[in-house]
């Protein structure tokens, strides 16, 4: 496949990963940070961009390692462990970088930043790219799209929750309860993009 066609396919996959196959609202991956870090728009935006960055980079890194190391050696079954190691190392690097450049954000994200390591959306992105046989450029597009879709969803959720802060939500539903209900209604709206041709 020539590069131009692959770029186009990458673009299409990226757009569909944002809307049609939103990794959060269609596959419900990456729920834990989505529920816990969506109290404020600012925190959500920070974490969202971190996910975009980590998801795109780890997808690309994992593609290279999978296709150039694991496949030639016939060690495909090894991919879960390898992907997790790559993701963990990468998140550690991002964490250190963020601590240096933006201490305030680092403080606010607190425990959630290391939690990106075990964010199923990140591992899910890498595993989907293997299952769906994406090429390298398409993989980068897919990682970027999934990350942006996650960012969009978490920021929208944070906006809604910030507005709901003063409302009379039934006591038993406050916090995670109403968040999951809102997520369900958001998924309802995103069903409108289903079957994009």
């Amino acid at each position: 496949m020539n590069v131009g066609a692959e770029m186009w396919q990458g673009f299409v996959v990226c757009i569909s990963a944002v809307f049609t196959n939103n990794i959060l609202l269609s596959y419900f991956l990456g729920m834990c940070p989505f529920v816990s870090a969506s109290r404020e728009v600012k925190t959500a935006t920070g974490l969202g961009w971190a996910v975009v960055f980590v998801l795109t980079s780890t997808c690309a890194l994992n593609w290279v390692l999978y296709h150039w190391v694991l496949l030639p050696l016939g060690l495909e079954f090894f991919r879960f462990i390898l992907f997790i190691i790559v993701i963990a190392a990468f998140v550690q690097a991002v964490e250190m970088l963020m601590e240096r450049t933006s201490p305030l954000l680092y403080q606010k994200l607190g425990i959630f930043l290391p939690l990106i390591t075990v964010n199923c959306a990140i591992l899910g992105g890498s595993l989907f790219m293997v299952i769906r046989n994406y090429g390298f450029i398409v993989t980068v597009g897919y990682g970027l799209g999934s990350g942006l879709g996650w960012l969009m969803a978490v920021v929208a959720m944070a906006g809604i929750r910030q507005r709901l802060k003063t409302e009379r939500i039934p006591a038993g539903l406050q916090g995670p309860g109403i968040t999951l209900i809102i997520a369900g209604l958001m998924a309802l709206a995103f069903m409108g993009f289903a079957g994009v041709t």
């Binding site: 944070a158 809102i182 958001m186 409108g192 993009f193």
Partner: protein, 355 residues
């Protein structure tokens, strides 16, 4: 009037604390409020500049809905009335239950939701689906968020999306075909049903088979009240004049949809056809303008409207769905709080720099 007042005064002790019917206090107060406006006056400034309170506001919307409702009754027959009654009863039951638990009064907001919802449904939809839909919309879409004025999503839209995904066949097949001189005296059954709306025909490639005049007057298959563009324009114009509906939202939705249509269509007739088709007009005037679920800032309303208009056209042209107004408005509702938040931040920062 005096007689009614006497009846109410006589019944009041029953509903007070200690009375036998105190659980239903909310019902009593709602009825009382429906007949008699609260008579509190303000002796000192500030005085109200406009007697338009929440109740009158809702009444305006109902007046605005009247032309479309009459057109729908003419085109769909008395079955629509039954749907409205079922919608009021099922949704009202949820409303009353929550009002009783919360010990708050019932708000007039439901009068609008309960009326709009059956108006955007296919005319031959089974009545129990109407009841399930409106109960879901009021319960999940409104009451869980704290009731009237606190909901993030438009309850009628939530209800319609829920039905469209839960019962896709009934929701895409129950459209009443236009018949003879109207169906005023006819109880529409399955024999009057036509599965294909103009947009459905367009999707199959038989583009523009339906004449533009029929689209404008409403002699087409479609959800009950969304077909007659003329009636919607009359009622919508009234809402714009009384400023109950914000013109920015309406202009942004229709404007962006027009721009998108210009990109996809070949001729101007087709663009107007697209604007008249489906629920776009009804959604733009009556559902996107809901002051609670739309953006609060003026610029925010424009951005919110553009999101809706663009998404409608994208869904019509690129997805498996025939029409996407409800999904588009729900997406707009999702985005509205963030849009406001960002605009507040920007304005705050600008004030900080200036001050």
């Amino acid at each position: 009037m005096k007689i009614i007042r006497k009846v109410f005064d006589g019944l009041q002790p029953l509903f007070e604390d200690g009375g036998r019917l105190k659980t239903f206090k909310a019902v009593y107060e709602a009825l009382d409020n429906f007949f008699f406006a609260p008579s509190a006056r303000t002796p000192n400034a500030p005085h109200l500049r406009d007697p338009l309170d929440l109740k009158r506001y809702m009444s305006m919307v109902i007046v605005g809905l009247a032309p479309a409702l009459l057109a729908a009754l003419y085109l769909n027959g008395p079955r629509l009335l039954a749907m409205i009654i079922v919608s009021y009863m099922a949704g009202g039951a949820v409303e009353v239950a929550f009002a009783a638990i919360r010990k708050k009064e019932i708000h007039e907001g439901f009068l609008v939701t309960g009326l709009i919802f059956p108006m955007v449904l296919p005319g031959a939809l089974p009545l129990w689906m109407v009841a399930v839909g409106v109960a879901f919309g009021v319960f999940v879409g409104k009451e869980l968020f704290g009731g009237v004025g606190r909901n993030v999503f438009n309850p009628a839209i939530v209800a319609r999306c829920f039905l469209a995904l839960a019962y896709p066949r009934a929701m895409s097949g129950g459209y009443v075909a236009p018949g003879g001189p109207g169906r005023l005296l006819e109880w529409v059954g399955l024999d009057a049903v036509s599965g294909a709306t103009p947009l459905g025909l367009a999707k199959q490639g038989t583009w523009m088979d339906v004449p533009l005049l029929d689209m404008f007057l409403g002699r087409i298959a479609g959800s009950a009240a969304e077909t007659s563009t003329l009636a919607i324009l009359i009622g919508g114009g009234f809402l714009l004049m009384t400023r109950v509906a914000n013109w920015r939202t309406v202009a942004a939705v229709l404007g962006s949809a027009t721009v998108m249509a210009l990109m996809f269509c070949d001729s101007l007739t087709e663009v107007i056809w697209q604007l008249c088709a489906g629920g776009l007009m009804f959604g733009a005037f009556f559902m996107a303008t809901d002051p609670v679920t739309s953006a609060a800032t003026n610029l925010g309303k424009v951005i919110y409207g553009v999101i809706i208009g663009v998404v409608v056209m994208l869904i019509r042209n690129f997805t498996g769905y025939v029409e996407g107004v409800m999904f588009a408005i729900l997406l707009g509702n999702i985005a509205a709080p963030v849009i406001d938040e960002i605009l507040y931040k920007v304005r705050f920062r600008r004030l900080q720099i200036e001050g």
